[in-house]
């Protein structure tokens, strides 16, 4: 098992290198640091000296890949690629446009993001599985049909509608929770509950429908027929057999999303003023702060790869038939 995990981790290395190369190409070749400087300084104050000063202040005044003026190994290390891109590997994200350390901000903002995303994930999973199992229980009836129709309708509504409508209804009209913001400690739940709830509602259509199909597929299998044949009640069949076996693809399917919970959700956080990583990214996008966006792209990829790794491991745990080759 350990050897398997180590091998999977080693597989992830070339992918991370690829991600790093893509971000470097995207952020430094499509637009050179000169272009970025021109954009950040605005059209009026652009002089060659100002651009050079801007670049020097932020450490962009180096050659891209190879520095012929430096000595020895510094020919490679004293370059933009090494300083700005390779350094991402040891999570040295550098500084944002306003001079603050990005790593520090990320550590600070992980908590609020997780406070929204974790309840959303757990409650959502519980709700979707419950609904899907209910629909599967009533399969073929008009209740099932109505449920599926509602799912398709819910899938067709923009996520923005749930956010805008939910905030208006619950916070403004009914005055139940604050409209936006965030508090520390115990007070946080008042700010967390609405965005988490909206996140759950937003995913209800697609997930319920998907899980319903998984359960139905499971129900058409032979072991279910055997269970029925030996006289088990439908309830026992459903909870004892179908639910347990259906949860395997569902759980292994959602494992990939667990590490990404740290990043939070972009729109929800920015709309509810939650100081998490999602709103951090949105603010960076709006301010065109490329250092932050680059850091988040890399961090997101790392977390996704960790998620894939967890998925592989959970597969082997859930299903012993899968060989660890």
């Amino acid at each position: 098992m350990l050897a398997y995990i180590v091998r999977r981790i080693l597989y992830a290395v070339p992918i991370l290198v690829g991600v790093n190369l893509i971000t470097f190409a995207l952020f430094f070749f499509v637009n050179t640091p000169d272009d970025i400087a021109r954009m950040q300084l605005g059209q009026r104050r652009v002089t060659p000296e100002a651009i050079e000063k801007w670049k020097a202040e932020r450490g962009y005044d180096r050659p891209m890949l190879f520095n012929p003026e430096a000595r020895g190994v510094q020919k490679l290390t004293d370059t933009l690629f090494f300083r700005k891109s390779v350094s991402l590997f040891w999570f040295d994200f550098g500084r944002a446009e306003d001079g603050r350390s990005i790593s520090h901000e990320i550590r600070l903002r992980m908590g609020p993001s997780l406070a929204i995303a974790l309840p959303m994930f757990l409650v959502g999973l519980g709700c979707y599985v419950t609904f899907a199992l209910g629909l599967a229980f009533f399969r073929g009836t008009s209740l099932d049909f109505t449920g599926v129709v509602l799912c398709v309708a819910a899938m067709s509504i923009s996520g923005l509608f749930y956010i805008i409508g939910g905030q208006y209804l619950v916070s403004k009209l009914w005055n139940l929770v604050p409209i936006s913001g965030y508090g520390d400690g115990v007070q946080a739940w008042r700010f967390v509950i609405l965005p988490a709830l909206i996140g759950v509602v937003g995913g209800i259509g697609a997930s319920t429908r998907l899980y319903r199909t998984i359960f139905l597929e499971e129900m058409s299998k032979d072991y279910v027929r055997t269970a029925r044949a030996k006289g088990l009640s439908e309830r026992r069949v459903l909870f004892g057999h179908v639910l347990r076996n259906g949860m395997i693809p569902i759980l292994t399917g959602v494992v990939v999303a667990i590490p990404a919970l740290f990043i939070g959700s972009l729109v929800l956080e920015s709309f509810f003023g939650i100081p998490g990583l999602g709103s951090y990214t949105i603010d960076a996008i709006n301010a065109q702060d490329f250092a932050i966006v680059r850091a988040m792209v890399f961090l997101g990829a790392v977390l996704y790869i960790v998620g894939l790794l967890l998925t592989d491991i959970s597969y082997t745990l859930a299903d012993p038939r899968i060989r660890m080759e």
Binding site: I22, T23, L160, I285
Partner: protein, 486 residues
Amino acid sequence: MPFKPVILWTDALIFLLVAAIAALAWTVRRDEHLRAPWAKVARSRSGMCALVVLTAFVVTGLLDSLHYRPRLEGTGGAVNYGAEVRSAFDALADGLRTRTERTYSAPLATHAFSRESIERAHGTQAREYPRLRHGGAHLEDPHGERWPDVGRKTLAGAGLALALWTVLAMLLAALLAMRHREGIDGALSDLVHGCTEVPWRAMLLTAGALLAVAGPVWVLAGSYHVLGTDKVGQDILYQTLKSIRTGLVIGTLTTLVMLPFAVILGLMAGYFRGWIDDLVQYVYTTLSSIPGVLLIASAVLLTQVWMDNRPELFETVSERADVRLLFLCLILGITGWTGLCRLLRGEALKLREADYVQAARAFGVRDARILTRHLLPNVMHIVLIAAVMDFSGLVLAEAVLSYIGVGVDPSMISFGTMINNARLELAREPMVWWSLAAAFLFMFVLVLAANLFSDAVRDAFDPRMRSSWALPAALRPAQRLRAGSA
């Protein structure tokens, strides 16, 4: 000429797509074996009703894709064309475009939404709701006459719709009668009782419902703002109708961009195996491990900077916005091909062991020919299902991206920009709800129709995977995008 035709980049691609679909339809028509699954789609009631609605949207979108620049009047000998690019749809809905108010007005209102200071005739000032410039301007006494007038116009519109619908139904009956070589009475009775193979009755009812909404709106739009006006006084109905094209372009052109990557690389990886397979797998794993929204956001931001630094490339504002839309489609396509590619690789791995492929190889058929003649036709159903299923996700994604600020150009009307502009209006007192409601409603109808149609297509083409198991959700780019952002 009174106008100069303008073919924007996206227009050209849209018409290319239309031509491709027409060519595809023509091939399918001639081939019994290709026709069978489509005949199954045609028998699906929900699918065909959705198709009627989609057709209405597509016609609007296509009309909005015929662009031109109107000729300017009175410039002597020299011929000058306006800098503003308009479309055939703009020409049809000229009233909606030009009849702007000063600021907000509620749906069907005759007076402005907020009080303004008005100079009275004898020099005193008063704060009251001023009359609108166009909304209900024909009424002498708006308070008493408005609702009777709206009622009359609605009835007139409904009558118009009924007349049109009757003509449509009769034409259809005549067509069916001709095809089945029976009397028109028989065809009509089949139609009424719903015992035709294609669910014509349901389709007619859907068309009737559409007409019943469109007719009154058409008549009312002549003298009112049916869905109100926005902050700068532009008609909301006009904006929502214009948004349709943007949504359609994003939903279709992105797929057009993504298909070559997914099909060529996926098939090659699965067929050749070896280092090609390793390379393709490496590329798509790397690309798909970057969270979709972040990759799209950074790519859009960077093209934006690139375009800002090169203003000389674009002649008009529309051209600039159009190129940005094209870039958005490109970016969505390049970040979104990985899921389909993975599926196609798996399918090609299976197919290369099939007897007919082995036989072709034994006969010494060249690889390129095997790929195009034997593999490609046998994965087309997967490609089609993916293309149809991605559409609705992409329309929804556009709204989210424009809302984040990395979507279409702010000057381009789209559902996303409408929602973005209206996001703070709910906080006003009293609230301005109509522009959000209109954008969400139109988007909902479009996406719902697309979802229903794609379900019908999937059920017809992939009997093994009935109802929602065709593409694992996590692999679908649009799903990934939605999961990550909303």
